[in-house]
Symmetry: C2
Subunit: 172 residues, 2 copies
């Protein structure tokens, strides 16, 4: 994550009870899409011993589609977590997640460049920001490369270590 | 401002009553510093007929130090507004504003690149964000070129057209 990167997650570890509603909402979806960095450090061919950041029971409890340039067989873990590795782009990942989710929502888990790709493609209905009180001075930035967006404010809540803002994305 | 630029100011025009506290706070300082774009369109030598965006009684009611590469004599307007044009950089503008403000705060009025320069120089104690629900897809970005910052959340308030967040900047 780079220096200071862990600090933007402090609210999740040190104030989990206070932020329970937003933490629960993050993993309340029928399927998930994430960039490779959300699943693993590094680049290039997979180290098959790497099974994610979360231990044997990740918090998603459903199918997760990981965007990557390197094929890998699906990885089934405890609690209903199944990681699928998608090498043919975000539209494909979106379709697969949409199908796997049935009637439930699908969630783009991050990081910023993955969210930016989905925003640019017009595939998001809702954007949930969790704004930690620090800047890193480097790294991916939300909204880079994203065309103009019209949003509608849904809710804001400040807790001791983070400010949550949810927007609805208005179709043009 | 470019396409859509006026929309980020909708809350100021269409919901002024609802956002009265934050609007009053913006102009509650003993002196102000702003980038040239906050005072005038265009670049290069001054058009001396241009007297700012605000009419004859701008909302600052005090000395305003405008950063520019082009000298211009001070411009005195109604209501105690005096615009000074500073050609020797942000530290000079800061010193002059500090001196003019006496016991009162000084405010960096914007835009983003001016705020970024002051943040990078470690000259700000407080950062007030007014987050409008849209993106422009282009333009200056807050925090570009700014080293890592530690902030402390002071307050958050959402009104119908904007979300206000105030941070204290923690010295390293």
């Amino acid at each position: 994550m780079g220096p200071g990167g862990i600090d933007k997650h402090r609210w999740q570890f040190e104030a989990a009870d206070e932020n329970r509603a937003e933490l629960d909402a993050i993993v309340d979806a029928g399927a998930f899409v994430m960039g490779r960095n959300m699943f693993a450090p590094g680049r290039g061919e997979w180290d098959l011993d790497w099974r994610g950041w979360w231990g044997e029971d990740p918090p998603y409890h459903g199918p997760v589609f990981v965007l990557t340039h390197f094929p890998r067989a699906p990885l089934e873990m405890e609690g209903g977590n199944v990681f699928h590795f998608v090498t043919d782009g975000i539209e494909s990942a979106f379709r697969q997640a949409r199908e796997a989710a049935g009637d439930r929502d699908i969630s783009i888990a991050g990081g910023a460049s993955t969210v930016n790709q989905f925003l640019a493609a017009g595939l998001l209905d809702e954007l949930r920001l969790h704004i930690a009180p620090l800047t890193l001075g480097a790294g991916e930035r939300l909204f880079d490369g994203v065309p103009p967006l019209r949003l509608e404010q849904v809710s804001t809540r400040q807790t001791s270590l983070v400010t949550h803002i949810t927007y609805r994305v208005i179709r043009a």
